[in-house]
Assembly symmetry: C2
Homo-oligomer: 383 residues x 2
C-alpha cells in the first residue's frame, strides 16, 4: 500500500510562482502553497485525523476528508473544499457575477485541435463539462460524485443532461488563451439550466455560447427524480437569470426512421467511453453523430450550431445506431468547390450560408429500438 506525505493544502493565491524558476523543486512547492505548511513528513493512508490536524490545522480546515474518523487518501489527493472558494490558482478559475458565476482561463491544448489547428467540437464539450464541475468544486457543494452535491449524494441522485444547445461563431485555435464563463439558473420546478460563454481572453470577442438543461436521476432505480428541497436549498442561491442563448420557442427536432439517408450501425461503446457515472458520456454521442456525416461535407464545412435532446442513457453494453438526414439541396453542400462558388455569387439568393442535418442515435435492440438522443446541426462553409 502506498503511503502519502501530508500536503500543505491551500486554496489561496500563490504569488511567487515566477521567482521559483530555479529548478529547486522543494522551494517551488513551498512557494506555491504560501499559506500552507509544506512539510513532507509521510503518514499512512488512513492516518487518524488528529495526526493531520497537528500538521496544518488552518489550511486543512476547509477540506472534507473525514470518513469514520479517518482520512481518505482520495479526498486528500482531490482537495475538494467544503466551503465556497473565490479563486482556484491551479485551475485558473475564479468566482464572478456577484459571487455566483465561474470563470476559467484555459489554453487550447495540442491534442484538442484537429488537422486545421482549431479546437474540435468534442474539445468544446469537454471544456463545458470541466468548467461546470469546477464551478461546483468552487461552490463547496461538490461531493465525490460527478458534479453531485452533498444533498444529492444523500438522496442517491446524479445529474443527467436533458438538452444542450451550442452555437459556435469562431473556433479557438491551438495555443490560444480563452476564457470560459459558466453559471446556473432555474429550469421549471425540478430542473437546472447551465449556460456557458467562451471568449477570446485577449480581445473579449465571443467565440461560442451554450445552454443546457439538467435533471436528477436516482442512481439505483435509474429513474428521473423530483428535486428534493434539501438540494434546492443548496443550489438555488447560485441561480441567476442571465441566458447565453435566448430561445423564444426551442426548435422541435423530428424523429428520424430507417429511411434516413445516412445510417451507421453497430456502434459499440468502448470502456474508455464510459464516465465516472458508468454510462456513456454525452460527449461521445456528439462524435457518433458527426461521424455519420460524409467526410466530403465535413472537409468543407464547419459546425455553427448543435441542439441535442437526450432521451435515454446509453450503457456500456448497448449496441448503437447513428442516423442522419441532410436538409434539401444537399448536393450543393457536399461538393466544396461548387458550393463555395455558388455561395460567393449567391446564385440561389439564399439569405444565410448555413446548412442543416437532423440526427438520431438509438439502441439497436432485438425487439425494438430505443431513442438515446435526437440532434440538429447547422453548418457554415469553411472560408
Amino acid at each position: 500500500m502506498a503511503t502519502f506525505s501530508c500536503p500543505a493544502v491551500s486554496f489561496s493565491f500563490r504569488c511567487s510562482y515566477g521567482s521559483s524558476s530555479n529548478g529547486n523543486h522543494g522551494d517551488y512547492r513551498v512557494n506555491i502553497n504560501v499559506n500552507g505548511n509544506a512539510s513532507t513528513r509521510p503518514f499512512k493512508q488512513h492516518a487518524l485525523v488528529n495526526e493531520i490536524a497537528l500538521q496544518s490545522p488552518a489550511s486543512l480546515a476547509n477540506i472534507q476528508f473525514l470518513e469514520n474518523g479517518h482520512i481518505s487518501e482520495e479526498k486528500i489527493r482531490q482537495r475538494i473544499p467544503t466551503k465556497k472558494q473565490l479563486v482556484d490558482p491551479y485551475r485558473q478559475g475564479l468566482i464572478v457575477e456577484r459571487g455566483v458565476g465561474y470563470r476559467q482561463t484555459v489554453v487550447v491544448r495540442s491534442y484538442e485541435v484537429g488537422v486545421d489547428k482549431t479546437a474540435s467540437l468534442e474539445s468544446l464539450f469537454n471544456l463545458f463539462q470541466e468548467t461546470a464541475l469546477n464551478h461546483v468544486w468552487m461552490s463547496g457543494l461538490l461531493s465525490n460524485g460527478f458534479g453531485a452535491t452533498h444533498g444529492m449524494m444523500r438522496n442517491n441522485l446524479i445529474w443527467v443532461v436533458s438538452r444542450m444547445h451550442v452555437e459556435v461563431d469562431h473556433y479557438p485555435i491551438w495555443g490560444e488563451v480563452i476564457e470560459i464563463d459558466t453559471w446556473v439558473g432555474a429550469s421549471g420546478k425540478n430542473g437546472m439550466r447551465r449556460d456557458w460563454i467562451i471568449r477570446s481572453q485577449a480581445t473579449g470577442i465571443t467565440y461560442a455560447r451554450a445552454t443546457s438543461t439538467w435533471v436528477m436521476m436516482n442512481v439505483q432505480t435509474r429513474r428521473l427524480s423530483k428535486m428534493p428541497d434539501e438540494v434546492r436549498g443548496e443550489i438555488s442561491p447560485w441561480f441567476i437569470e442571465k441566458q447565453a442563448i435566448k430561445e423564444a420557442v426551442p426548435e422541435k427536432i423530428v424523429k428520424l426512421d430507417d429511411k434516413a439517408k445516412y445510417v451507421n450501425s453497430g456502434l459499440k461503446p468502448k470502456r474508455s467511453d464510459l464516465d465516472m457515472n458508468h454510462h456513456v458520456n454525452n460527449v461521445k454521442y456528439v462524435n457518433w453523430m458527426l461521424e455519420t456525416i460524409p467526410d466530403k461535407f465535413l472537409e468543407c464545412n464547419k459546425l455553427s450550431s448543435i441542439i441535442l435532446e437526450y432521451r435515454r442513457e446509453c450503457g456500456g453494453s448497448d449496441l448503437v445506431q447513428s442516423l442522419c438526414q441532410p436538409d434539401e439541396d444537399e448536393i450543393l453542400f457536399t461538393n466544396g468547390v461548387v458550393q463555395q462558388n455558388l455561395l460567393k455569387n449567391n446564385v440561389l439568393g439564399m439569405d444565410t450560408m448555413t446548412y442543416g442535418y437532423t440526427h438520431l442515435l438509438q439502441t439497436k435492440g432485438g425487439t425494438k429500438n430505443e431513442e438515446i438522443v435526437r440532434g440538429r446541426t447547422r453548418w457554415k462553409p469553411k472560408i
Copy 2:
C-alpha cells in the same frame, strides 16, 4: 472577415489574479497582463506592423508575427514567442533544470479519467505531447508546426517519434494536481531523446516516468532525414544527460504474425484521429492496442509499463489491424478473483505481480501488410 483588437501580449507573471474576482471583466484582463497595454482598440486582421508597434512596443517585441510585412491573425492568437521565456502563467509552466528543462503544473480534468476516476493512459500520453510542445514554445524555437523549430521549417522537416517507453507507478486521479517535468538529450547522431517525470504536486511522489526517441522526417518525401547542422545548433544547447528511465539494454519486441491470440481487424482512422501533421497521432495507436486486450483482463488489471517501437506512419486512409499475444499463464490473469487470491497468497511463488502482452499494429494492404508499431505492455492487478 472578423476583426481582432490588439491584445496586450505579455508573458510576465500576473500577480493580481486573486484580487480580480469582482466580476468586472475589463479589470480582470488588465490585471492579468500586468506589463501589457490592455487597450482594446480594434485593428484589421492584416494591419501593418507599424500600427501594432505603436500600441505596445515593449510587450510585442518577442512575438513572431511578421508575414510579408503583415500580421498573421493566427500568430497573434497563438502568441508564440521568438525568444526564450522563463514563465508561462497561462499554461502554469516554467523553465527549470538550470534553464533547459520545463515544468508544468496540471490539474487532472474530469474527461481525462475513466470509470475508476484515474487518468487514462491516453491522457498521460496527451499530457506528454502537450508539455513537450510547451517546452519548445518556451524555448523561443517553436515555428508554427507541430513542435518543429524554425530551422526545421526552413528544411521542410517534422518530428516523428521512433520509440516510447512509459512506466506508471500510480495513476493520478480526477482533480489531482500534478507536476510534469520534461527535458531533452542527444540520441545518436541524428536523433533526440525526450524524457518526462510526472509527480504529485502535493507530495513530490513520482507517479510516472517516460522516455522517447525522435527523428526528423521530410514533410514532402516522407523519408527520414539527417539532422541539419542548423537544427542541431538550435536544439543542442537544450540537451542534458539526465534519464527518466535507465535502460541498460532496451527490450527487444518480437514481431507477431497471424497466429496471435487476439486480432482486431478493420480499424479505420477517423478524421478526429489525425493531428496537425495530417497523420494518425501516436496516442491513437495506444488505444487501438489496448482495445484488443479482453475487457475481462482490463477490468482487473492496470498497465504498469508500455514500450512502443514505431516503424511507419499511418495515414488517414489506411486500414489497420491490431494483434496481441498474452504471455503464458494467461488464465491466471484473466479471472480477477482467482488471480487476486493467488497473488495475495503468492501461491505460485512469483517474484513480481506483473503480466505481459506483446502487440502489433499493421496496415492491412491488398498484397502485403506493413508494420506501423510494435508494442510490449506489462500489467499489475488492481488493488
